[in-house]
Symmetry: C2
C-alpha cells in the first residue's frame, strides 16, 4: 500500500509532533534558518520583514511615550560587568568574550594575536554600559527623567537553541530610564509593560497574562521583574517581554547620582525593559495551523496576494490587465492607517502551487483571477482564517469595502481564537500538588498529548515550594497583576496562601 | 587685558584648528561621544535621530530597487574568512576575536573560560557569512538575481579613531547580491552607486564625485570598487560609500553556483555595497560653520523650533497659547512629503540661550514669539543659513507658504554652497609632481591654512607612481566616471597618460 498523502501542508501536524511542526512551519514560511555559526540564526527576508513591522509599531509607541533612541557599544569591559554582583552572576555563564584584536597567519593557519589587556564581553544586555553613560549624563534633577531606548543585537551563549525562541544572538530593543523618585520609576516600569501589552495583543493578536516574576525568576540585579506571558498551542508558556524595576541597585553600582531640588545628592531610580525577535516565534506558535503560518494582517508583509489564472495563452493579456487593475484598486485602500500591502504572483508556476505557497507563508487574503471571474466582474477570494478550499466570489466593485473588512475580521478572529484556546486550557480547579503533577503528565488516554496548560492556583510565596516544581519541569510563570483576592491553601505545601500564581511548563 | 570673548559659538573656529573644531561641533550638537570602551562611540539621541532619517530614506530606495532586508550572524568562523585570500588579508589586522564563551570567578576576578574550538571573528563585513548562505539558497538561474540588504553593526579594530569618521564599531547597511551574468552584476554595482549619489546629494545636500578606486585602494577581494567622494571644508576628501563589483571571486570562494538556462553549472556574479554612520561625520564637516552644526532640512530631526519669549509673567498664558497655535499650524504643513517636524522649547532658561542651543544643534528655522509679535500678528523668524542675528518678521497667516519655501531654500543653499566650495578648491592646473607637492604643503603666506584641495590631473595608471604619493600623505581618491578624455602627461612621472584621477589628502 502506498503511503497516505498528507492531508495538511505541514508534516507533522501539531498533534503529531509539536516541536517538529514548529520547525517545519518556520521552514515552509521561509522565516529563518540555522546559521553555520553555532547557535545563531539567519533571519530571512519574510521573517525580517515581520520584524520590521513589529519594530515600526513598537518604535512609534516608544517614541510616543517620550523615549529617544540612541546607540551604545557592543562591547562591555569585564570590569564594568563586575560592578553589579548579581547581574554578572546571571550572565557570566553564557558570555561571548573577545580576547584578541588581530589575526596572524602561522603555518598556513590563522591564529588570534594582539591579546587585549582587558577582555571584552559581547553585550548580553546593556545595563552596565548604559549605566556608565548615565552616570556622566545625569547631574541634576533637571536631567531627569532620562528616557532612552536602543535597537540592537545581543549575545547569550545558550547551549540549546531554537530558531527565534532561543538563539545565541538575537535582535531586540532595550529601554533604559532613570528617574528622580522610586514612584516615577515604578510607574515607568508598568507604563512600558502596558505598551508591550498593547502592541502584542492589539497588533500581534496574542493574548497575554501580565504579572510579576518570583524573586527566583527575576532579572539579575532587579528589584522586580514584570512579564508578559502567552500560551502556545502546546499549552506551554512563552515569556514574550519583560520590564524591570531596578530600584537604586544599578545607580549605586554605576554611580548614577543627581542633585535633587533641595541640593542633596541622591542615587537615581532606574528601569529597563525589552522585547526580542522571540516574538516572531510566539506568532508562529500561537496562530499557525497544520497548513503553516497564519499572520495577523497588521504585521503581514503582504496582506493580499493576487494570483492570475491563465489557462488560455491568448487570453494572457486580458487576465494580466484585470489583475493589475485589481492590484491598483487594493493598493489604494487603507487598513490600520497604512496602504494595503498587495502583490501579484506572476511566477511561472501552477496556480495551485502558488496558492499553497502563500498559505504556508501566512498571507491573510489570497485572490484568484481567471477568465471566468473577469467575465462575471468578480474575483475569487480565500481567507487564511478559513479552510484552504473555502472560496468566496466577490464583485470587483465591492473589493474596496470587503478587503479592509475581512482584514479586520481576520485580525480579530486570530485574537479571539487564541484567547478561547487559552481560556480552555487555563485551569483554576487544581487543588494540590498531586493533582498538579497528574495534570502535567502525559497519560494513556485517547489523546495523550492533551495534558497540561496554565494552572491558576494559590501559592504561599516560599522559594522552598517553588523549587519543588523544578524536577517536574514546571515553574511559576508569574504572579498575575489581576489577583482573585482569595484566601486558601498553597497548591504545593497546603499551607495558608492568598497569592495567585500561574504554573506551567515553558520555553 | 581680559581675554576677548569668542565671536563664534564654537571655539576654535574652522580656520584656527579644523580637527578640534570638528570635535567641538559634535559635542555642542550633542551628536555622540567617545565610549569608555576603546575606539567605540555612544551615538546620542540627536545623532541617532539623524541616522534614523538617513536610514529611512535609504531603506526606501533600497527596497524600491528590488532588494529585501535580512539578518545574518554577528560572528564569522575563522575558517570562513580564510576562504578568500585577499579578503582575509585585508581584514586580519583589525579583527575582534571571540575565543571563550563564559566567565568564571577566580581569586575575586572574572576570567574567560570555555575556550571555543574555533575562534569567531566579530564581522568586519559580511561577505563570508552571506556568501555561505547564498551557496545554499541559490541552485538555479530562477533563484537569481538574489538581492539582499542588511542593517547592522560591524567592528574593525582601528587604532586611531574619531567620532563617526573612524570607530572600532560602527553602524551601516551592506547590500549583497548575486546575478547570472557579469553584465547584470556590473549594472547593479552602478545602480546602487547612483542610489547613494541620489540620497547623499539630494537628501544630505553633499556634492559628490563618483569614480572607481585604483587596484591598490579597492576592497579586498573585489574586481572593482566604485566610490562616492566628497570634499570637506578642510579640503580633504571623505569616502562616503562604496559599491563593489566582486566578479566571481567570492562565488568561487564560497561555492555560489547555479544551473543556467542550458543546464550548465556556473559561478554567480556578485556585488556588495555599503554606507555607514560616517555619513554623519560628512554632514558635520561639509555643512557646519563656526556657530556649530547646520543640518539639511530633509534630515533634521526638528526642522522648526519655536521659542516663546515671556517677559511679563502675567502674559505667560497669552504667549503660550499663541505659540501652540503656531506649532499646530506648522505641524499641519508638509515638506518633502512628510509633516514638518516642529517643537516648542519650553525649558526654564533665557530665550537667547535657547536660541544658541538650537543654532549649535543645526535646526534650520527658529521662530520667536513674544507679546510684541502677538500684537502685530507676526512671528520673528531666523534661518540657520543666514547670520544668527539676521531676523525676519513674518505674518502668521503667511507661515503656511513661507516655512516650506524657506526649508527648501536652505536645503538648496547648503548644496549650492558645498558645490561652490568644492569648485573653488578643485584644481585642474597642476602640471607636475613638484607643483602638486607645493600645492599640498602649508606655506608662509598670510593664510597658511589655505592650501590643498582636490587635484584633477592625468595619471599613467601605474602603481609605481601611485606609491610615490604615500610619503606626502596623498592618495588617488578615484578615477572619476566622468573623464575629460584628454591626452597628456602623468602628473607624477611625466610619461604619456590619458586617465583622469582625483588626488587629495583624505580621512
Amino acid at each position: 500500500m502506498a503511503p497516505k498523502a498528507p492531508k495538511t501542508a505541514i508534516t507533522p501536524t501539531r498533534e503529531e509532533d509539536y516541536p517538529e511542526w514548529y520547525q517545519q512551519v518556520v521552514k515552509a514560511a521561509d522565516l529563518a534558518e540555522n546559521a553555520p555559526v553555532r547557535g545563531c540564526m539567519v533571519i530571512k527576508p519574510w521573517g525580517y520583514s515581520i520584524w520590521e513591522f513589529i519594530q515600526k509599531k513598537l518604535d512609534q509607541r516608544i517614541k510616543d511615550t517620550g523615549h529617544e533612541n540612541a546607540y551604545f557599544p557592543l562591547f562591555i569591559p569585564l570590569s564594568f560587568l563586575e560592578k553589579e554582583a548579581s547581574h554578572v552572576e546571571g550572565f557570566a555563564k553564557e558570555c561571548a568574550v573577545v580576547t584578541h584584536h588581530r589575526l596572524e597567519s602561522k603555518d598556513g593557519k590563522l591564529i588570534p594575536t594582539g591579546e587585549l589587556e582587558e577582555p571584552l564581553v559581547v553585550r548580553p544586555t546593556s545595563e552596565a554600559i548604559i549605566g556608565t553613560s548615565f552616570s556622566k549624563w545625569i547631574q541634576s534633577h533637571r536631567d531627569l527623567p532620562l528616557l532612552i531606548n536602543q535597537w540592537a543585537n545581543v549575545v547569550r551563549w545558550e547551549m540549546r537553541t531554537r530558531l527565534f525562541l532561543r538563539t545565541a544572538e538575537f535582535l531586540w530593543q532595550e529601554g533604559h530610564t532613570a528617574h528622580s523618585t522610586a514612584k516615577e520609576a515604578e510607574e515607568e516600569t508598568l507604563k512600558m509593560l502596558e505598551v508591550y501589552r498593547e502592541v502584542v495583543e492589539e497588533t500581534l493578536a496574542m493574548p497575554l497574562i501580565l504579572g510579576t516574576k518570583t524573586e527566583r525568576e527575576k532579572f539579575p540585579g532587579a528589584v522586580a521583574t514584570y512579564t508578559i506571558e502567552g500560551m502556545m498551542q502546546d499549552r506551554k508558556a512563552l515569556q514574550m517581554g519583560t520590564s524591570h524595576y531596578l530600584g537604586q541597585n544599578f545607580a549605586k553600582a554605576f554611580n548614577v547620582r543627581f542633585t535633587n531640588i533641595d541640593g542633596d545628592v541622591e542615587y537615581a531610580h532606574m528601569t529597563s525593559w525589552g522585547v526580542t525577535t522571540r516574538l516572531i516565534g510566539g506568532l508562529v506558535m500561537v496562530h499557525s495551523d497544520d497548513d503553516g503560518l497564519r499572520l495577523p494582517p497588521k504585521i503581514a508583509p503582504k496582506q493580499v496576494v493576487i494570483i492570475p489564472f491563465i489557462t488560455d495563452p491568448e487570453k494572457s493579456e486580458v487576465v494580466m490587465n484585470a489583475t493589475k487593475d485589481v492590484l491598483a484598486k487594493i493598493c489604494s485602500l487603507k487598513y490600520n492607517d497604512d496602504s494595503i500591502r498587495s502583490h501579484i504572483d506572476q511566477r511561472d508556476m501552477r496556480g495551485g502551487e502558488k496558492g499553497w505557497y502563500w498559505v504556508k507563508k501566512g498571507v491573510p487574503i489570497r485572490i484568484e483571477i481567471g477568465m471566468r471571474d473577469i467575465e462575471s466582474g468578480t474575483v475569487t477570494l480565500m481567507r487564511r482564517d478559513k479552510a484552504p478550499k473555502d472560496k468566496m466570489t466577490v464583485k470587483i466593485e465591492e473589493l474596496s469595502t470587503v478587503i479592509p473588512k475581512i482584514l479586520e475580521e481576520i485580525q480579530s478572529n486570530y485574537f479571539a481564537q487564541a484567547k478561547a484556546f487559552r481560556k480552555q486550557h487555563l485551569h483554576e480547579d487544581i487543588e494540590n500538588f498531586d493533582q498538579m503533577i497528574t495534570f502535567f503528565t502525559p497519560n494513556n488516554s485517547d489523546k495523550p498529548e492533551v495534558h497540561g496548560g496554565f494552572v491558576l492556583a494559590l501559592w504561599c510565596g516560599s522559594t522552598e515550594c517553588e523549587k519543588k516544581l523544578d524536577e517536574h519541569k514546571l515553574s511559576i510563570r508569574c504572579i498575575p497583576l489581576k489577583q482573585r483576592k482569595k484566601e486558601g491553601c498553597c497548591v504545593i505545601c497546603d499551607q495558608k496562601a492568598s497569592l495567585d500564581a500561574i504554573f506551567a511548563k515553558s520555553y
